[in-house]
Amino acid sequence: MNPQRRRLIVAGIASGCFGAAAFAQLKEKVIRIVAKKFEYTPAEITLEKGVPVVLELSTEDVAMGFYAPAFKIDVEFVPGKAVQVRLVPEKTGSFDFSCNVFCGEGHEDMGGKIHVA
């Protein structure tokens, strides 16, 4: 899925416009990841290969990004407005994610890992 299409889907979910696809996601496990300068909590998550999940991303302080190129995820979010993104892990391994919205002194070190077993 191209990033623009993914962003549209994310925006649709974030604004409460639940279509059939989004409704299906409600049945999937939602993993909440909270960002704040300069860390994600949790910074590491473990997923099961082939099992879809929904990541719910929010930030406590400033605008943040969540960039996970292995899953073609590139989303931005601001305080007070969580976004959700659906993810189907297709390969096992450990994959990095990072913040790609500059947020200050520790921005360069802000990231985490998605493990797929």
């Binding site: 605008a63 960039y67 990095d96 990072s98 790609n100 919205v101 500059f102 200050g104 002194e105």
Partner: protein, 293 residues
């Protein structure tokens, strides 16, 4: 042309052991086009004034001044000097940001050559969308002509998400529309316009649109900073050259699992730091260390 030969000879001899002749890059476009006269300019980048960290640079408070002195010591002065961003190190405190910008401006005011162009980096501009930076240095993107070469300074940092943005891209298109296809064009930016290492934040989200806009022009060269090291890359016929930093080097793209700085080497102080001159006739790059050996 005798003048040209003299300048090149000077640059070769004045390289103080660090000169690199880089015009042999495969496919490196020249700036010949409609250029009226040979000249050279100096690029300095990523000075990060205000950074503190002795393990990376125990002379963080003195490196910029030394670079200024080294540029002043060039016996033939460049036509102009450009700073390609991250003039200051980031701070959350708006007052402190302005203090650092003011100190930076005071230090570089010692440059003998007063024709100095400034650009923001994300450390200067991303936390307030360039507001403080503009108070000191004016417009964050602009173009100018010098002896037949058209220069375009692109701001890909005032948006913290590293976008040039639609309004600036529209401005760039209108600016380029006035140029002939064979016009010598130099693009200056802080971040790379191409996807060097997006996972290390070494990219511009809409940089591909800028590159696509530049493709019809046959003589385009891009100079940027951000990655704290020399790097050369081609997108089609367009050459992209990154500059060294004046605070600490970063590891080569993809050479480590994560982006990280290169620690200070006490046996070789200022190793990996420096500035460059760019001679326009054949896009000759000469790299200079901070201190003359």
């Amino acid at each position: 042309m005798t003048k040209t030969i003299d300048r090149r000879e000077f640059l070769r001899l004045a390289g103080v052991g660090g000169a690199v002749f880089a015009s042999g890059l495969a496919g490196c476009a020249g700036m010949a086009g409609a250029m009226k006269d040979d000249f050279y300019f100096v690029q300095l980048s990523d000075t990060h004034w205000g950074f503190k960290g002795a393990a990376l640079n125990p002379d963080a408070g003195g490196t910029l001044q030394k670079a200024v002195a080294s540029v002043n010591a060039l016996s033939i002065q460049p036509d102009f000097i450009v700073f390609t961003g991250d003039l200051t190190h980031t701070t959350d405190d708006p007052k402190e940001r302005r203090r650092r910008l003011a100190e930076f401006r005071d230090i570089v005011s010692a440059l003998k050559n007063k024709n100095v162009r400034f650009m923001p980096g994300e450390h200067d501009a991303s936390l307030d969308n360039g507001q403080a930076w503009k108070e000191f240095f004016g417009q964050s993107y602009y173009s100018f002509d010098h002896k037949g070469v058209h220069f375009i300074a692109v701001d890909n940092v005032s948006d913290p998400a590293a976008r040039i943005g639609a309004p600036q891209l529209a401005w760039m298109k209108a600016d380029l529309d006035k140029q002939a296809n064979d016009a010598p064009i130099v693009v200056l930016a802080h971040r790379p316009l191409f996807d060097l290492m997006p996972q290390w934040d070494w990219a511009t989200k809409d940089g591909a649109q800028a590159i696509e806009m530049l493709m019809p022009y046959r003589n385009v060269t891009v100079f940027y900073g951000h990655i704290h090291q020399e790097h050369h890359h081609m997108t089609g016929h367009i050459a992209h050259h990154s500059a060294k930093s004046l605070i600490f080097p970063l590891v080569a793209p993809g050479s480590k699992p994560k982006r990280e700085p290169v620690p200070w080497d006490a046996a070789q102080p200022y190793k990996g730091l420096g500035f460059r001159s760019v001679e326009t006739n054949a896009v000759k790059l000469t790299e200079y260390p901070v201190l003359k050996a």
